[in-house]
């Protein structure tokens, strides 16, 4: 832990996040809810404020200095996102509001235009609702079958069950999380993609959680679609990224119609703009896009190896500390996991746990985590969840563990 902290300089990192010095209920804030939404470093805040104070204008259309500067800044985010994902080309980066919109875009456009009724979409048994509901909607409107690859009791994808779903040759698309927001489990993206491709299916990864903790290389894992949201990656809300292979984007029809996404419009016929603008109707989240660039540069400045090492050490520490508490059950025991730990206490309901933690300045999430089917699979009504970020310290995990012991006593 100390070695990592020295390389990593956690004090310097924390100093970049003004909110972390806030008091909550007169206590030091212990923010363990980064998987819901991460806090923002100064660089992100400054980039957004700076853009609004010095150069703000609408983009892609103005002929004046302000619009040109802002267009350039916004488009630099596309380059940064392409670099972050190791995309082949910047045109493969489509800006969306969040991962939910990215998945809906694929379901609506690829799902309706390329998938054929009777084909199947495979998801896993540990998806967020955002990667379940769009496919149910496609199933109901387009005659797609929805198949669910079960997870093991340790909270990992059951690879045999996954592979068996392809037996009839009808699977057209796999849409699967790259890291569970409840269990912290990483899914083996490369193997998932290889099996999908061997069976003639494309694969989409929901990287909302994974990209926060680990370097993503869409070419190395051989993905077809990959999406993430800015606000979990220390960036603003309202901006996210859908990456897809250029040939897929070229073949897909637009999702939303309007300004920005057209080549020419007449009352008889409209032609679409080139990829990626074909998928970016309307004035986008300009300031948020500029903020995302700053977030990506922040991540790059720290470096994924240091982030991953820091968070792996934190997660090991948390699992050891929390496991030692009597009456606690930790959900998910995946070998390959990131900084998310869900648990229940025998003595108290997750909501009561979260309320008492909050009174000590400790922020966790409690409930179903937008993953109701997974809760049923785990046999629980909900969990409390502690999730870690770049700024989380071992001392904060110790505070969580100590307070959970007091909560046990309180409800004993």
């Amino acid at each position: 832990m100390n070695d990592t902290a020295q390389i990593f300089d956690i004090t310097a990192i924390r100093a970049e996040f003004p909110i972390l010095s806030q008091k909550v209920r007169d206590k030091d804030l212990v923010f363990l809810d980064s998987a819901a939404s991460a806090q923002k470093p100064r660089a992100v805040i400054a980039a957004m404020v700076g853009a609004m104070e010095t150069q703000y204008a609408n983009i892609h259309r103005g002929l004046h200095w302000m619009s040109e500067r802002t267009t350039e800044a916004y488009e630099l985010t596309r380059d940064a996102a392409a670099r972050l994902l190791n995309a082949r080309d910047r045109s493969e980066i489509v800006f969306v509001r969040n991962s939910t919109e990215a998945i809906n875009l694929v379901a609506h456009s690829y799902g309706r235009a390329i998938l054929k009724p009777g084909q199947a979409v495979v998801i896993s048994g540990m998806e967020h609702h955002s990667n379940i509901v769009p496919w149910q909607m496609l199933r109901d409107s387009h005659g797609i079958e929805l198949r669910v690859a079960d997870i093991t009791d340790s909270g990992e994808l059951d690879m045999a069950a996954y592979e068996a779903l392809f037996a009839d040759g009808r699977v057209g698309l796999v849409a699967i999380t790259h890291m569970s927001n409840v269990l912290g489990t990483y899914t083996p993206a490369g193997r998932i993609a290889a099996i999908a491709h061997a069976n003639g299916a494309k694969v989409l990864f929901d990287g909302s959680q994974a990209i926060v903790h680990r370097r993503i290389d869409v070419q190395a894992i051989d993905a077809d679609f990959y999406c993430f949201t800015g606000h979990k990656l220390y960036g603003p809300t309202g901006i996210g990224v859908l990456w897809a292979r250029r040939e897929l984007l070229d073949a897909m029809p637009p999702f939303l119609g309007g300004g920005e996404m057209i080549a020419s419009v007449s009352y008889e016929r409209t032609t679409w703009a080139e990829v990626p603008h074909k998928f970016e109707a309307g004035t986008p989240a300009i300031i948020e896009g500029i903020g995302l660039h700053a977030a990506i540069e922040f991540i790059e400045s720290v470096g994924y190896p240091a982030i991953a090492a820091h968070e792996a050490a934190l997660t090991d520490h948390a699992l050891a500390k929390l496991s030692a508490i009597e009456g606690i059950t930790i959900l998910g025991r995946a070998q390959d996991r990131g900084g998310v730990v869900s648990f229940t206490l025998d003595q108290a309901h997750p909501h009561d746990v979260a309320t008492l933690l909050d009174r000590q300045g400790i922020a966790v999430r409690a409930g179903q985590h937008c993953a109701e089917p997974l809760m049923r699979r785990l046999g629980v009504d909900g969990t409390a969840r502690a999730s870690f970020g770049i700024y989380t310290t071992p001392a904060e995990i110790d505070a969580l563990a100590t307070t959970l012991e007091r909560i046990r006593e309180f409800f004993a």
Partner: protein
């Protein structure tokens, strides 16, 4: 460590949250409804049996949720006993107002519910306290489901 939560997590609430007295499914009932809080997973089912004069003769519930929702359901059962549906609706409105504001202008009428008065200081928990009441209102209306969102 937790003295500051004793306003809500008082002895009455904890006792009823841990060991509800009325958490039973009625063998014979006239109406039932379920309350769901989809964001957090809480669920309360309420069963009602009416007396000959139309008042509430008996209420039972089953709950999957936190201490606050269970204790609220348990207190509710006692509070609505022998009341007419109109009285019960009026009581819910007063209870909801108390849960949201902490103010209790007509407290004498429902003293049994006062242990929950502090819930207004916990905004994210108000819906836990009102969920069983939403289920009860749905049962009175003859509806099947309600939410406290």
């Amino acid at each position: 460590m937790f003295e500051d939560v004793r306003d809500l997590y008082n002895a009455e609430i904890i006792a009823r949250g841990r060991r509800p007295r009325h958490m039973t499914r009625l063998a014979a009932f006239d109406t039932t409804a379920r309350g769901d809080n989809p964001m957090c997973g809480d669920r309360v089912q309420v069963w009602l049996k009416y007396a000959a004069d139309g008042s509430i003769a008996e209420t039972g519930f089953d709950a999957r949720g936190c201490d606050i929702s269970k204790a609220s359901a348990d207190l509710m059962v006692e509070a609505v006993q022998n009341r007419s549906p109109a009285d019960t609706r009026a009581m819910f409105e007063r209870f909801r107002a108390m849960a949201q504001s902490g103010q209790c202008p007509d407290c004498a009428a429902f003293a049994p519910l006062k242990p929950l008065a502090a819930v207004h200081a916990y905004p994210s928990r108000v819906k836990c306290a009102t969920l069983p009441w939403h289920a009860l209102m749905a049962a009175l209306e003859g509806a099947k489901d309600a939410t406290s969102e």
